[in-house]
């Protein structure tokens, strides 16, 4: 079943003296339970696409359909995980995780039951009462993921959530995210500029062209999980994707 469908999405941004075309007609079908990784040169419109799917931006043309209905606004069934986590520094970890539940009016004992489950899943139980500044970047991303999962969204929209992590932490989280995905059966759209990361995570990797972005290539990846970055069998797919991506990155460099 198609969970999210992008139909010819065109998006402009008004700059002072010109209109910048970020998305040039993106078409993409994402099946329920898919783990789709989007790669593309920086500034090509990956975040913009994700933000449109979240309902944070509106496209000039085209529609994103969620369960066959056009997305017009944000909704807790499509939760965005930002690169920096966007955790609330005025709240403890546990209150960050319970935020969406509180908004939904869920009573506090039920809230703590739910948050407990996801704090456990993301190995955060020890940090439940910490403030976010006391956490490492990796821990913050765990909190951000837990905060999204408690709302039991259909779709997780993740915008380069691991970009700021050191190598070890990233590898750990790459495995954990695969396990979370297997446990929760969420549909995930994951933006990254890191091809190795995309190939490890995705059931499908989508390559965006340079700006204005359109879908250049979709590559299915099916290997057993959890996959690791150093898995040799992933190398051919990695090469295939890189071959598509490199000319786009080159165009991007030349356009500067």
């Amino acid at each position: 079943m198609v969970k999210l469908e992008a139909r010819n999405i065109v998006k402009y941004f008004q700059h002072d003296d010109y209109k910048l075309k970020a998305l040039g007609g993106v078409n993409l079908k994402i099946q329920e339970g898919d783990f789709v990784c989007i790669v593309g040169p920086s500034g090509c419109g990956k975040s913009t696409f994700l933000r449109i799917a979240a309902g944070l931006e509106k496209p000039e043309e085209g529609d994103i359909l969620f369960d066959d209905r056009p997305v017009t606004n944000t909704g807790p069934e499509r939760i965005m995980v930002f690169q920096e986590g966007a955790l609330f520094p005025w709240l403890k970890v546990i209150d960050n995780v319970e935020f969406g539940l509180k908004i939904a009016g869920i009573p506090s004992d039920e809230r703590s039951q739910i948050s407990q489950r996801y704090l456990d899943m993301m190995q955060l139980t020890r940090f439940a009462n910490s403030y976010t500044y006391q956490l490492s970047t990796g821990m913050k991303q765990r909190v951000a993921i837990a905060r999204a999962l408690v709302l039991d969204p259909d779709v997780l929209l993740m915008d380069e959530p691991f970009a700021a992590l050191d190598v070890q932490t990233r590898e750990l989280l790459l495995v954990e995210l695969q396990i979370v995905w297997q446990k929760t059966k969420k549909t995930i759209v994951f933006v990254t500029h890191n091809v190795a990361e995309a190939v490890v995570l995705g059931t499908k990797v989508v390559v965006f062209t340079n700006r204005p972005a359109v879908v250049k290539k979709e590559v299915s990846i099916d290997f057993p999980r959890p996959r690791l970055v150093e898995d040799q069998k992933l190398v051919p797919q990695q090469q295939e994707i890189l071959a598509e991506l490199k000319p786009e990155v080159k165009k991007r460099m030349e356009s500067e």
Partner: protein
């Protein structure tokens, strides 16, 4: 505070008192015009003994608290609307900047006409003197919120009053505190100034009485009290609030 610093301060204030006493003893001016610290202290004692001082403090503080509460509630509301609605900012926002430049004392004539010699009039002057500082700080604070916080909250379903109380206000809180602090400073000056001009109870009124009876030591005694309350509120209320927020946010 380090012992060293405390010692420095004590020495400084003792020195001031000593110089003051010496100048008073030198009798350059008659005692009624330049009293000694001891006389001022005695005056404080009389005021405390007959209760007039405490009554004055209580009256002024009550007006201050009511006025500041109005200023904080109104200022936060106004500031949030200015920050979140461009039209409000372009219209009311420009007026706020203008009104902020009016010294609170300049509202006294209007307050006297509108409210007469009453608590309401003094509270009006106090509140209006403080509200725009609160407004501007709230506005700046909300404008400076990382937009990702707001987007994340909206994504999780927050809107309307929940967005305001659970996200905008806590996210802007470091700025709100500066607003409260500035607001309090304006309110305190406003309430004393208004009381002097209204001449209707409170510490400002006691200053006025001191002037009318040419009782300089009373005037100075009341001024010392006004300063003392200022230092106390700054140190006890705002420093603590600030420290708490700063450490919670990991800003220090």
């Amino acid at each position: 505070m380090s012992k060293h610093l405390t010692a420095k301060k004590i020495i400084f204030y003792v020195a001031i008192l000593a110089v003051w006493q010496a100048v008073a003893d030198a009798n350059f001016w008659p005692n009624e015009i330049f009293p000694s610290p001891w006389e001022v202290m005695q005056d404080l004692g009389y005021g405390a003994a007959d209760g007039s001082l405490f009554y004055g403090i209580g009256t002024s503080m009550l007006r201050l608290i009511v006025g500041l509460a109005i200023a904080i509630a109104g200022g936060i509301t106004l500031g949030i609307f200015m920050a979140r609605m461009e039209t409000v900012n372009q219209t009311i926002g420009s007026l706020v900047l203008g009104l902020q430049s009016i010294p609170s004392i300049a509202w006294v004539p209007l307050a006297l006409i509108w409210f007469g010699v009453s608590d309401a009039g003094i509270i009006f002057v106090t509140a209006i003197g403080a509200i725009f500082a609160v407004t501007i700080n709230t506005y700046t604070g909300v404008k400076n919120i990382d937009p990702h916080y707001i987007e994340a909250a909206q994504n999780m379903g927050a809107k309307g009053s929940q967005l305001i109380t659970l996200v905008l206000m806590p996210a802007a809180f470091p700025y709100l505190i500066s607003g409260f602090k500035q607001g309090w400073a304006f309110a305190w000056r406003g309430v004393i100034g208004a009381e002097i001009l209204f001449s209707f109870l409170g510490l400002g009124f006691l200053l006025n009485v001191g002037r009318q009876t040419i009782d300089v030591s009373q005037v100075i005694a009341v001024m010392v009290v006004i300063m003392g309350i200022g230092i106390l509120v700054d140190g006890l209320v705002f420093k603590r609030l600030e420290n708490k927020v700063m450490s919670r946010w990991g800003l220090r």
